[in-house]
């Protein structure tokens, strides 16, 4: 389910550019996790697998790995919607330390 990690595209000349306006690569080289001030941490022992964090993630940076939700910290912007919406209250937002 995870989108591929794309590399940055560099055109060396105008001839290399595609003529049609089309998307030739996704933006996954842009690691938006650097924008984050607070990070979500999931306490899996309290998780009820309701899928609400996955459903409401605007990135979408919550993956499903072996039927458990896992946050992809490369892209999570730390908006906190998952922690606010979680019915089991198993996601907490903690301060980011770099």
């Amino acid at each position: 389910m995870r989108p591929k990690k794309a590399k940055k595209i560099v055109f060396k000349s105008a001839e290399e550019m595609p003529i049609m306006i089309c998307s030739v690569g996704d933006q996954t080289h842009n690691l938006t996790g650097a924008w984050r001030n607070i990070r979500p941490e999931i306490d899996l022992s309290k998780c009820i697998k309701c899928g609400i964090c996955w459903k409401f993630c605007p990135e979408p940076s919550i993956d499903v790995v072996d039927e458990w939700p896992v946050v992809d910290y490369d892209y999570c912007k730390g908006c906190g919607i998952c922690a606010e919406e979680c019915p089991a209250k198993c996601i907490v937002m903690v301060e980011e330390r770099r």
């Binding site: 389910m1 989108p3 595209i9 055109f11 550019m17 595609p18 306006i21 089309c22 998307s23 030739v24 690569g25 996704d26 933006q27 996954t28 080289h29 842009n30 690691l31 938006t32 924008w35 022992s45 009820i48 697998k49 309701c50 899928g51 996955w54 459903k55 409401f56 605007p58 990135e59 979408p60 940076s61 499903v64 039927e67 458990w68 939700p69 992809d72 490369d74 892209y75 912007k77 730390g78 908006c79 906190g80 919607i81 922690a83 606010e84 919406e85 937002m93």
Partner: protein, 302 residues
């Protein structure tokens, strides 16, 4: 629940698992418009072409040659979302591809103000397109200017606190219903199952289909990013943004029946753009909502 039974339990997915929106896009934290796009693409699938005029999504998507979406996109001029989609659809039909769904995806400025003549023209010709307006209630991309979708009492940079907007929001759904197009629906990012169901229903219908999607904007509404989905849900529950469908401009269906509406004050107090409102102004907003709600119920019962 013991740990073993929990391990076996499947992760609940109430939406289609396909993800056509990739990470790394340029939206603000807690953006409602990205959620709207994600749900719409989940409903429509890969065979979709998008026409996006100048709006937040023209930026979120990424600069050329990148795109966060796994579908083709046509970036068009501000006022031409509907007419570009008409042209793309006609071109696809000429090329022998009647399957692809063509979607015009515009913000509230590109729908309510600038794009309304193109939209009205496409609706009158009943062109086979889906038009989605994601409504964040101002020109958010250019710096929170007032649009005709801005509600009564809201602060924007062009309607400052001393002269806040004193006109109500334009009723775009009623304008489109007057065009007698086959399908009109309102949707909210807080009710994704309902949104995806409506998108799948619209995909099967031929003719102009219109969606009005409520997409909160933490940056412009001066609300907390984590409250985005909560605000959208509150707007549905207090009758400010009811979820309903209109078929052929006549048949109204209310999707979420409210037993008693919640007061609008809790919703207004979560947003910095309504901080200056006096109790009298809030009572006025509540009265306006009650009038609109009664009018909608009359349509549904008729």
């Amino acid at each position: 629940m013991s740990q073993d039974t929990k391990k076996e339990k499947k992760f609940t997915m109430t939406l289609p698992p396909e993800e056509l929106m990739a990470c790394g896009h340029l939206a603000c934290q807690g953006c409602g418009a990205t959620l709207a796009m994600r749900y719409m693409l989940k409903g429509l699938g890969q065979k979709t072409a998008l026409c996006i005029p100048a709006c937040c999504w023209a930026v979120i998507d990424g600069p050329y040659p990148y795109s966060s979406l796994d579908v083709p996109i046509y970036h068009c001029a501000f006022e031409t979302a509907a007419s570009t989609a008409t042209g793309v659809k006609a071109g696809l039909e000429m090329a022998g591809d009647p399957e692809t769904t063509v979607v015009a995806w515009a913000g509230d400025g590109g729908t309510f103000d600038i794009g309304i003549q193109a939209l009205s023209g496409a609706a009158e010709r009943n062109d086979d397109i889906i038009y989605v307006c994601y409504d964040n209630e101002a020109y958010m991309n250019t710096g929170i200017q007032r649009s005709s979708a801005t509600p009564y009492g809201a602060w924007t940079t062009t309607t400052p606190v001393k002269h806040f907007k004193n006109r109500p929001k334009k009723d775009i759904v009623a304008i489109l219903a007057a065009h007698r197009i086959p399908y009109i629906a309102t949707a909210s990012v807080s009710h994704p199952e309902d949104f995806v169901r409506k998108v799948k229903k619209a995909k099967a219908i031929k003719g102009t289909r219109f969606f009005h999607v409520y997409a909160p904007c933490p940056t412009g509404w001066k609300s907390r990013p984590e409250d985005s989905v909560k605000l959208a849900r509150m707007a549905v529950q207090n009758g400010l943004f009811p979820l309903y469908e209109i078929e052929d401009g006549e048949k109204y269906t209310l999707n979420l029946k409210l037993k008693d509406k919640k007061p609008v004050e809790d919703y207004l107090r979560l947003q910095g753009r309504f901080r200056h409102l006096s109790p009298e102004a809030i009572a006025e907003i509540q009265a306006e909502i009650d009038v609109r709600w009664a009018r909608l119920l009359k349509h549904v019962e008729a």
